[in-house]
Amino acid sequence: MSEMVLLGDEAVALGAVHAGLTAAYAYPGTPSTEILEYLVRHQQQHGGPRAQWCANEKTAYEAALGVSFAGRRTMVAMKHVGLNVAADPFMNSALLAINGGLVVAVADDPGMHSSQNEQDTRYFADFARVICFEPASHQEAYEMTREAFDVSERFTIPVVVRLVTRLAHSRGIVTVRDARPENPRHKTADKMTWILLPANARRQWRSLLDRQPDIRRYTAASPYNTVTANDSRGLGVITTGLARNYFFENLEDLPTPPAHLHVGAYPFPADAIRTFVGGLTRVLVLEEGYPFVERALRGIVPPAVAILGRESGEVPEDGELNPDLVRAALGLPVRAGVSLEGLHLPGRPPQLCAGCPHGDSFQSILSVLASFTDAIVTSDIGCYTLGALPPYNAIETCVCMGASVGMAKGASDAGFHPVVAVIGDSTFLHSGVTPLLDAVASDTPMTLLILDNKTVAMTGGQPTIRRSSDLEGVVRGLGVAPDHLHVLEAHPRRMAENTEILRREVNHRGLSVIIAVRECIETVKRGKQEKTAASA
């Protein structure tokens, strides 16, 4: 046994290694990125297990399925919205007879620190009828991940570990245990449990439903679901995941400690909850994310018990929890901080770095489109989304990975010209290739501008899945006309000629693609530092 200081993400990663992980896959996404980053470093230092960035969350999930089919333990990591991309393999894999343990580590982002929504992954786990662990501490993140592999093999289902930003990105101490060896290769014995033809799928779905009582018995007995009676006859508190910490933070200020039930493993223990609320007059539900337990409770709890939470207004319906919101929900006065009368501070939103190549591209776009009144500029997920803010105000949409390309096609079909789609190199390879095929198929009058900064910049500079020099070949291979495919250097000294090319292609009444290349200044800086350090 030894102690380590880890991010919540890293505790999950190390838990997987110590559970006998053979291979892990991911696409970067805040706040989940550091799971695979840790495993990549671990592989570099120890030679394994295999840790690989993938084109997107769906391809990552499918690679993990292959590992499981071969009998070995595997993990796939993503942010909450990444699970939307991987939803197809995820939902279907619940019907497979999972062979090597398959753990799906998903980091939700309540409060949307770095995301476009705050969807709650517990719904997805429930939707798929699989087990979900929700750690409240770094130690639990480590332990639950280890256990998730065991129960994945025991119940032959994928198992979800749900993190939230404040655990993923907080550091704490983890006591680690001895590692379990990897599974030997042992291919799935009955391939009919992996061929989801309708006849097989019906059998597998029935089998998954038949396993539910056992699954519920397992989580009902889990030490992560706890009840502290506290002999309270009035208020009871149900917490899930991190909300327990905020409850504990305020506990000593309460005149009498309420009865407390905590949920860390789902399906949540319905019988225990029924018993728990018996005799209470009010039950306050504190959970990070959507009112998942609170809603379910309305079907479990007798009407005489008042259910308080996000839906009833005791806790805000949206946004992330914190100790002060929980304090108010518990009826305690929120402490005032220091205030200076008349103080007015300017906001400081994030912005593109000084010298960022995207800035040059946005300037070209603005100067070309200035002469049009009907232009539409769609965009996507990445640093360049900051082109929505001053001084550029250059883009008009940001929805989901790759949407800029398909939306540009739709806007063009709807009669607008010119239409420009702006997407980064990694986002393009993640989900922009297939919509570009649609545009190629009908030679849609639109211009796709791929901002190639040779890295996944927003999440901290992970490698793009293909080298920058391969990008042109990928686009050409899709069938984009060579006359209307350009590779430019996104540099201020080339501004005039780049703008002219963009102007020409914007006026072209067909599909054109411009790849504007210059490495992210952050990765350039880091590369230089690494070289200096290596030579020192």
Binding site: V5, S114, E249, N322, V334, R335, G337, L345, P346, M458
Partner: protein, 192 residues
């Protein structure tokens, strides 16, 4: 004993390094630590906030409740005033006086420093100047660690040890600059 610290600044100013050094030092001293960081979009030149909690008892929440922080340690003067609601009535604000003016509506710096002076316990440090004197403006954040050292529940020598550890991979010269910056910050806070 508990010591809750709000760390603030602008993305790229090294707020996370400050947090890492203080947290490592506290753990070395056998204290419980929780350290909540900001990753992702806000690191791109935006306002950055980190929560660092140190205690001799187990810590429940990763986030600091309002009105309880002993210290706001800021790399930038406007940012030193952004999170006052978290500061305890007897808490201290320690801030670098050097503005990061990457926004159009940045107020006149004197008006901001005047606001800081209105606080009951405030220490202002010309951190950039001290860092340059130590050898590099990039050591500004270590000046600020030094300036806060007298309020941290850890011995100065432990902090210095972790400054050396953090910068060791970057070579002896960088270590020297940052240790010098740390000491300069401590002296400046003592003199203020």
């Amino acid at each position: 004993m508990k010591c809750d610290i709000i760390l603030s600044g602008v993305g790229g100013q090294g707020v996370l390094s400050v947090s890492a050094i203080i947290a490592s030092s506290a753990m070395q001293e056998g204290l419980a630590v929780k350290q909540s960081e900001v990753h992702g979009m806000s690191q791109r030149g935006g306002a950055v906030l980190a929560n660092l909690r140190i205690s001799d008892k187990p810590i429940a929440s990763d986030l600091i409740p309002r009105g309880t922080a002993a210290l706001i340690l800021s790399m930038e003067p406007v940012e030193s005033l952004r999170y006052l609601e978290y500061l305890a009535a007897d808490g201290t604000v320690i801030t670098a006086t050097n503005p990061v003016t990457n926004i159009d509506d940045y107020p006149p710096i004197e008006s901001i420093l005047d606001q800081v002076r209105r606080l009951p316990h405030a220490i202002m440090i010309d951190a950039e100047k001290l860092a340059r004197q130590a050898g590099s403006a990039r050591a500004t954040n270590m000046v600020m660690v030094g300036a806060a050292a007298h309020l941290l529940p850890v011995p100065f020598a432990t902090i210095e040890h972790f400054v050396r550890t953090l910068f060791a991979p970057k070579g002896e010269r960088v270590v020297d600059i940052n240790v010098k910056a740390l000491h300069a910050g401590r002296s400046a806070a003592a003199a203020s």
